[in-house]
């Protein structure tokens, strides 16, 4: 497998599929769908094989590929996966294939839809397998365009027009990429003297480890990255795109965006922010922790009064990202593995939610909780999906979210006790809004107006079966993904111990205000 270019296959197969679809006549919608499915099934299987073959004992980058590209700039087509990116890659493929399933009845401009969808998936995949920052940026930018077009053409207008939603989503994505670009270029320029410069991640990490990046520079550059990736991860107060965007976007885009695209923010914060700029990460960590707590509570509160299903899940995802940020901010191996695990868990959960909402909306053209009543009478399978995702969201043991959440709490409590307590109280609010939604939309008396809609049957249950399977299996056997994540986090332990005593923003403020150690 090492020499079979597995990662290239995973990355390029969807693009190949997109090309083939582009050459297929647009009337042949069935063939288009089959090609799209094929273009996702193959990489999914390869990813599964890679996942199972990954040697967690050895750890580190495996399945690496390296082809020099622009040697003058130090750019190379360099791919590889480690314990951090492999779960995210697996997640991407799971959600990618499911998004094809749940777009199966997309009748409007089928051809263009699937071309864009496959390009989108390829872009997201690329960000996770790239070992070269240039490739990373390239793939990230590749993602923006399809999203905008897809929201505009296949989106839906509810509280805000879909054009507004689309532009908001895109602007925030681009804003993220602008900050990120500046940050990455700054790192690129500072890491090595001219002539030795490189975009290669491992070399940048090495440079940081050798002390080429000064503390002040790290603080500055990390701030840029935090703005970029933070807004991508819907960090408070840059979260407002998330509910609006999801509400406007078509099902598949919501699934991919909430499921994986958002996670690029968290992934890159760890991969780039923490590994290359550890001192910067340490400096800003208390601020991130406070914002994370705001994320959790504030978004959970707001989700409580939402009426639109997609808004509830949108705010819910903002709330869950707060846990990820909290896990990041605590900066210890336990909390970090929890953060990565939570990203995986939330990805599967959120896309299950969105696929079920998409099914209901496709049939009834309703998303408002007060109008949807007693759906479980007509749609038991869809209701099962809602309940699975809902209880996973509540953090019920046996479903995927529990172990990562517990891990984050254990990891962060020792570092930020007060913030953690507040964040943990989020589990109560999560239960409040999720159960409120379930109670109103799913349970209750039968409403006759839905009798004409049939339940998800046969192929329509594919997203539920597929995501539900992972939701339960990874919940019952968390070692399946937590083990891989651990192999990615453990090598960072010495670095984390080294920065444990580095100054933070709190120290800086204390010094600035001039209150000496005596008072504190």
């Amino acid at each position: 497998m090492e020499n079979m270019h597995a990662l290239s296959q995973i990355l390029l197969f969807p693009i190949l599929g997109a090309l083939i679809i582009a050459m297929t006549p647009k009337e042949k919608t069935d063939s288009i769908k089959q090609i799209a499915l094929g273009a996702m099934v193959y990489p999914f299987i390869i990813t599964l094989i890679v996942y199972l073959k990954y040697d967690t004992n050895a750890g580190g980058m495996q399945f690496s590929e390296y082809i020099p590209w622009v040697t003058d700039l130090g750019v190379a087509y360099s791919l590889g996966v480690d314990g951090l990116s492999l779960p995210m890659l697996m997640l991407t493929e799971i959600i990618g294939i499911t998004s094809v399933f749940s777009s199966w009845y997309q009748e409007k401009r089928t051809k263009e839809f699937f071309v864009l969808l496959l390009v989108l998936i390829a872009g997201v995949t690329g960000t996770f397998v790239a070992c070269d920052l240039f490739i990373f940026l390239l793939c990230y930018e590749l993602v923006v365009i399809p999203i905008y077009i897809m929201v505009l053409i296949w989106g839906s207008t509810k509280r805000v027009p879909k054009e507004y939603a689309g532009i908001k989503l895109t602007i925030f994505l681009l804003m993220g990429s602008a900050f990120m670009l500046v940050g990455i270029v700054a790192i690129y320029l500072s890491a090595y003297p001219e002539g030795m410069r490189t975009f290669d991640l491992e070399k940048l990490v090495l440079s940081s480890r050798l002390g080429y990046l000064s503390s002040d520079f790290q603080i500055f550059a990390f701030f840029l990255l935090l703005m970029g990736f933070g807004s991508l991860l819907s960090m408070f107060p840059f979260h407002s795109w998330s509910p609006d965007g999801y509400a406007g976007a078509p099902t598949a885009v919501s699934m991919i965006h909430a499921g994986v695209l958002k996670k690029i923010g968290g992934y890159a914060l760890i991969r780039l922010g923490l590994m290359v700029l550890p001192l910067g990460a340490k400096f800003w960590a208390p601020l991130i922790a406070v914002l994370a707590m705001m994320n959790v509570l504030y978004a959970a509160y707001i989700a409580l009064v939402q009426k639109d299903l997609k808004y509830i899940i949108g705010y819910s995802s903002v709330s869950h990202m707060g846990y990820v940020l909290l896990g990041f901010a605590a900066l210890n191996p336990v909390s970090l593995s929890g953060a990565v695990g939570n990203m995986v868990a939330h990805g599967i959960m959120a896309s299950l939610f969105f696929s079920q909402i998409g099914y209901v909306y496709e049939r009834t053209h309703l998303r408002s909780v007060p109008e949807l009543r007693g759906l479980s009478h007509q749609m038991p399978n869809v209701s099962l999906g809602f309940m699975l995702a809902g209880f996973a969201s509540v953090g019920l043991p046996g479903l995927i979210e529990f172990v990562p959440e517990y891990t984050i709490f254990v990891g962060s409590f020792g570092v930020y006790p007060v913030i953690s307590v507040l964040a943990i109280s989020g589990v109560v609010f999560t239960a409040l809004y999720i159960l409120r939604m379930l109670a109103k939309a799913i349970f209750g008396p039968r409403s006759v107006k839905f009798d004409k809609y049939h339940d998800a049957k046969g192929f329509e249950t594919a997203p539920l079966v597929f995501l539900g399977f992972f939701l339960v299996i990874l919940g019952l056997f968390p070692e399946l993904f937590m083990g891989v994540i651990r192999s990615g986090i453990t090598p960072m332990t010495p670095m984390l111990e080294k920065i444990a005593d580095a100054p933070t923003i709190v120290d800086a403020v204390i010094r600035y205000v001039g209150i000496g150690g005596g008072l504190w």
């Binding site: 409580l304 479980s376 043991p397």
Partner: protein, 632 residues
């Protein structure tokens, strides 16, 4: 056989779990088959559980030397999260009680649920519940306990909301889950702090490390942890002020009320404290708190139960009251009394609930006891079983409640006289309202339009068996050394404290006589009494307005704050971003005017720019050249 059962005790929770999976994925449409699968699974678990009891008795497994087997579930950082089984007498009591009651309830449900289209679903949920509950019982660590603690909460939610098309059931389920969730939040916090400060949540390891930890760090943090841990039981076991969900939980099918909300799940809190008593025992202040809160809950709930009218609600408040009793027993330091009462209570309360279910079904879903009457003639077996149950809970010797309640009261008396007093008053009230229930519903005049008839066999035999257990379990426990076996600390065989026994029997008899006088002989008018004690009657009848208080808290604490935050989100945070966008738009609009559309204007601009660049280049070149020695 016994050794095999001990080694394979993990099968006890696994079999119902498999039954859940099979029913849920395959046979839920087929009612009879689903029921058979579930009952088969629980029967095997039942046999295994009793075999484990045998194993514990023969293999000399005691509280000090439990049988532990575990496997690593997952690892976070360096912390290994293990799952496994810890078997000691405490576990065995719970195992046998849970499997026995569950088996009887599942058989009873064959009759009770026969006409419900959701019977397959019912058996799936019940199987999942039994599996989770048994997992909880076998837990080796706080962590494992929390995992299954949440799962039983889920099952409780699903089963309360079993009639999901009823708005009241749906709301009750939500309320139950969220109220217990508040407790779980405290429990989770406690467990996390235990993990961080002590380093483990494993019971056996904790027991070893705790003295050392206290030597090093004192009990300050441990007090906080113990308080937080106790919040979980407050929610789950319906202690004041988180008891509000339990009466509403009666919206579920009656067998569920019997199994989950009377006999097993709600006592999980008691079990947790008993299991971790080595921890609580280190911190007397928490124990004191537990005792007083338990006592308060007991008398509080009993005082509500006196005036309630629906049969199941009376029983629900009775459950809360009895749980308070158990908590009080724990608080005064008597694990034995608490667990003993837990066991006997499980039997007679399940009996009462199942009987109530039979009655309510016979009355076509009419639950108000004042609309019943004279059922003794129509349902003789049920009536006899119910009478046994009532006498048992009232503490009439030699029924089960007498022994267990006496043990609690004796322990309380040893600890603090006021606790004993509260306990005794509660016992009096309990006897009164249970007798009231019995007299109003079963004795008195038969109403003309009463549709009730004797129940079918499936429902009758479990009642009889439970009645039998309610009679004998107390005697067994008392005379065959329950106290030597299930205990904390040194084994003490407490004899009957005759002062306590005498006073409680007198009180119980007086209460029953009082109920008889009011409701059968009509010596005093119930209405007249209610009118005379109007304030107390209203307070009690309206459950001290706790529910209303929660509604207000929920409305102002959650929804009003949430609306304010949403307004902030829309108008301030989003507003700032939109403002930024508008500003950009305005700047762009201004610049836009330069785009007049004339190509030639663009060309002018282009060449103007080119001239500027060239001019700059020329000036620069001129400087360079003049430095080099003359331009021309």
């Amino acid at each position: 056989m016994f050794d095999f059962a001990l080694q394979s005790a993990w099968l006890i929770p696994l079999l119902p779990a498999i039954a859940f999976a099979v029913i849920g994925l395959g046979t839920r449409q087929n009612k009879q088959l689903s029921a058979k699968i579930a009952i088969a699974a629980i029967s095997v678990s039942f046999v295994l559980a009793w075999s484990v009891l045998g194993a514990v008795l023969t293999n000399n497994i005691t509280v000090e030397a439990p049988f532990i087997a575990k496997t690593v579930w997952t690892t976070i950082g360096k912390i290994e999260l293990a799952m496994g089984m810890l078997i000691d007498p405490l576990t065995v009591v719970m195992l046998t009680v849970v499997t026995t009651v569950a088996l009887l309830v599942e058989i009873y449900s064959l009759g009770y649920m026969a006409h419900d289209p959701g019977m397959g679903r019912f058996y799936a949920y019940v199987s999942l519940f039994v599996a989770s509950m048994l997992g909880l019982v076998l837990a080796i660590s706080f962590f494992q306990m929390y995992v299954f603690w949440e799962l039983v909460g889920l099952c409780s939610y699903l089963l309360i909301g079993f009639y999901y098309y009823k708005v009241s059931a749906r709301e009750a389920a939500k309320k139950a889950f969220i109220t217990t969730r508040i407790g779980d939040f405290g429990l989770l916090l406690g467990i996390i702090m235990l993990q961080i400060y002590v380093g483990t949540t494993d019971f056996a390891e904790l027991q070893l490390q705790l003295p050392h930890y206290i030597d090093v760090s004192g009990t300050g943090m441990l007090t906080l942890i113990a308080f937080l841990l106790f919040i979980g039981p407050i929610g789950k076991s319906g202690q004041f002020p988180l008891h509000v969900w339990l009466p509403n939980a009666m919206e579920g099918p009656t067998p569920v009320s019997a199994l989950i909300h009377a006999a097993t799940m709600v006592v999980a809190g008691v079990y947790l404290i008993a299991r971790a008593f080595f921890l609580f025992n280190q911190i007397p202040i928490v124990l004191e708190f537990i005792a007083w809160l338990g006592a308060f809950t007991a008398i509080f709930a009993a005082s509500i139960a006196i005036t309630q009218r629906p049969m199941k609600r009376i029983l629900a408040y009775s459950t809360i009251s009895q749980l308070g009793y158990m908590m009080m027993a724990l608080g005064v330091g008597s694990v034995t009394a608490s667990m003993f009462h837990l066991m006997t209570h499980a039997f007679f309360k399940a009996l009462l609930f199942l009987g109530a279910g039979a009655v309510i079904e016979a009355m076509h879903e009419e639950a108000d006891i004042f609309k019943m009457g004279g059922l003794k003639e129509r349902m003789p077996v049920t009536c006899k079983a119910m009478t046994v149950g009532v006498l048992a809970i009232a503490g009439i010797p030699p029924l089960a409640g007498f022994f267990s309640k006496d043990e609690i009261l004796a322990a309380a008396l040893e600890h603090n006289f006021f606790l004993f007093l509260i306990g005794s008053i509660t016992a009096f009230m309990t006897s009164f309202y249970m007798a009231r229930l019995l007299f109003v519903a079963f004795y008195g005049e038969l109403k003309d339009d009463c549709p009730a008839e004797e129940t079918n066999d499936f429902m009758r035999y479990p009642l009889v068996i439970l009645a039998g257990l309610s009679v004998v379990s107390g005697i067994w426990g008392h005379f065959f050394g329950f106290g030597e076996w299930v205990r904390f600390g040194a084994p003490v065989h407490e004899g009957i404290n005759f002062f306590v026994a005498f006073s409680s029997v007198v009180l119980a008899a007086a209460a029953i006589w009082l109920a008889y006088a009011i409701y059968v002989e009509k010596r005093w008018s119930a209405h007249g009494l209610a009118a005379r004690w109007g304030i107390f009657y209203n307070l009690s009848y309206n459950k001290y307005y706790v529910d209303e208080f929660y509604v207000i808290v929920r409305y102002y604490g959650c929804f009003v704050v949430a609306r304010i935050l949403y307004w902030i989100d829309l108008n301030i945070i989003d507003g700032a971003i939109n403002m930024l966008a508008k500003l950009t738009g305005a700047v762009g609009g201004t610049l836009n005017r330069a785009h007049c559309g004339s190509v030639q204007a663009y060309v002018i601009c282009f060449y103007g720019g080119a001239i500027l660049v060239m001019g700059y280049a020329l000036i620069y070149a001129y400087k360079v050249l003049s430095m080099a020695g003359g331009a021309f």
